[in-house]
């Protein structure tokens, strides 16, 4: 039986990074395998009563759709949610870590979580990993100081904004937001705009697709709606491709029984006590 020379250790292994960089620069045309990205459109904006976050639901593996209905809006705290773009695993694990740390922080301080805290913890962690954790996040929430929206990039830079979009579909989404955003919109206007922004990303970007998820965060609470809209409807199949049994005629049937000899019989009793 083959065993690895060293037992797998926890944490990141950066052993091959230097070798990969060298190979990439010295061998022209070498395609280095990349981590699976979500190829996403995520967007968020601040309206009069709180924050609205929106995301598409397509996860891609290079040019193949790995998941048609994945969830990109992650829980951080009861009043704070986070959209994740970039490397799928990084975004997922990072947000889970933040959620866990925020709960501990809230218990330790005796105060409700604040969006600024999440943003600071996130960027300090991402900066420590110097961009190797490929998570681009939009954090939105309503805390004691009001509604806030932050965007955090993989290297640890952040922006505190009234509206933002990230992911491969950020171009189309930000265009829609730049055109139609006004401060202090109503919930209906805000939600409509977020859906339009994510829809633009879904239609114009190959890496984004399927449905639009929306998360509305207000002082009163949160409301997550999966698949608020499905901009690109699958076309109907033109014909049926199942062939009924008997379409291919059977010419001859031969049955060959295999002679098997029982060599050993063992009975293992299950422990039911």
């Amino acid at each position: 039986m083959l065993h690895s020379a060293r037992e797998p250790q926890g944490g990141f292994s950066f052993e091959n990074c230097q070798r990969n960089a060298f190979l990439e620069s010295s061998l022209k045309g070498l395609r280095v395998p990349h981590a699976r990205k979500t190829g996403t459109t995520i967007a968020g904006l601040v309206f009069e009563g709180g924050v609205i976050l929106g995301a598409d639901t397509r996860a891609t593996n290079d040019s193949v759709v790995a998941n048609k209905n994945c969830e990109k809006i992650h829980f951080i705290a009861p009043n704070i949610y986070c959209c994740g773009a970039g490397v799928a695993a990084d975004a997922e694990m990072t947000t889970q870590l933040m959620a866990s740390n925020m709960e501990l922080h809230a218990l330790s301080t005796g105060r409700k979580p604040r969006v600024a805290t999440v943003s600071r913890m996130l960027r300090q962690m991402l900066f420590r990993y110097q961009g190797h954790i490929g998570a681009s996040l939009i954090i939105g929430g309503v805390d004691i100081t009001g509604p806030h929206l932050y965007s955090v990039h993989p290297h640890g830079s952040y922006s505190h904004l009234l509206f933002t979009a990230m992911g491969s579909g950020q171009g189309p989404a930000i265009s829609v937001l730049e055109d139609r955003f006004k401060p202090d919109m109503t919930l209906e206007e805000g939600q409509q705009l977020v859906v339009e922004a994510v829809t633009a990303g879904i239609l114009e970007d190959l890496g984004s697709g399927s449905n639009v998820d929306v998360c509305v965060i207000t002082q009163a609470g949160i409301k997550i709606q999966r698949a608020v809209s499905t901009p690109a409807v699958l076309s109907k199949r033109q014909g049926k491709y199942d062939y009924p049994k008997g379409t291919t005629a059977v010419m001859k049937e031969t049955v060959t029984p295999l002679a098997l000899e029982m060599i050993e019989e063992t009975v293992q009793t299950m422990e039911v006590e």
């Binding site: 960027r123 900066f127 961009g131 990039h153 290297h155 830079s157 922006s159 950020q170 171009g171």
Partner: protein
């Protein structure tokens, strides 16, 4: 500004930035006058060719009457500013009085110098304290140099001539504000990675005053 063609005042070969990395690619400026300083910046943050934030305030407060202006890699600059703010707050508590601008500049310089191989950011420190009055310090690449005025960031290359020709010692606060605004506006007009609005902070014994100069209020120069 594209990472391969970055016009930083320094040349880093050890730390080549990745394509997705966010840069402030900036114009920052600080001018000293009798009784305080004026610090100014543009507001553009770019990642490759895209502008990820067009209203980012690059003037970060380090203490009550000490500001720093960020340029270079956004993540590095923000991280340094956060670290320096924390260290200065602690230092101020230990002293039981506001820290000197020189202390702030040294705090920033020590971080920048110690990690100069890994970091790619330039923070200009400016402020007022009761001992030396208004002071401007450049901390490029880990040095510490006091100057009557200083410019930095990728856009500064375009305005060296303008600032050298226009600066005269003994300007009033209003003249300094106009000087800074004009210089940054000129740089924004020529540098692709500078733009947006102009943030200005005036620091004196009385306190700090922030202004934002938007759109039509920006000074207009020759523009075909």
């Amino acid at each position: 500004m594209h990472s391969a063609v970055r016009m930083l005042e320094s040349s880093y070969f050890g730390n080549l930035p990745g394509v997705g990395e966010v840069h402030t690619g900036t114009t920052i400026m600080a001018v000293e006058f009798d009784g305080g300083v004026v610090v100014g910046s543009d507001s553009r943050v770019s990642a490759g060719e895209a502008v990820v934030n067009r209203v980012f305030n690059k003037l970060a407060p380090l203490h009550q009457r000490i500001y720093c202006a960020l340029s270079g890699s956004a993540a590095d600059a923000q991280a340094i500013a956060d670290m320096a703010t924390y260290q200065l707050e602690l230092h101020g508590m230990e002293l039981e009085e506001p820290p000197l601008v020189l202390s702030a500049a040294n705090t920033v310089r020590n971080i920048t110098y110690k990690y100069r191989e890994e970091l790619s950011a330039h923070l200009m420190v400016a402020g007022w304290d009761p001992y030396e009055g208004g002071q401007v310090y450049g901390t490029l690449e880990g040095m510490l140099i006091r100057q009557p005025f200083a410019i930095g960031g990728s856009g500064s290359s375009y305005i060296y001539g303008y600032v050298d020709a226009t600066y005269k010692p003994g300007m009033s606060p209003k003249e300094c504000q106009q000087f800074t605004t004009n210089a940054i506006a000129l740089a924004m007009g020529r540098d692709g990675s500078s733009g947006g609005v102009i943030y200005l902070v005036t620091i004196t014994a009385a306190g700090t005053k922030q202004e934002i100069i938007l759109g039509k209020e920006l000074p207009q120069f020759y523009d075909e």
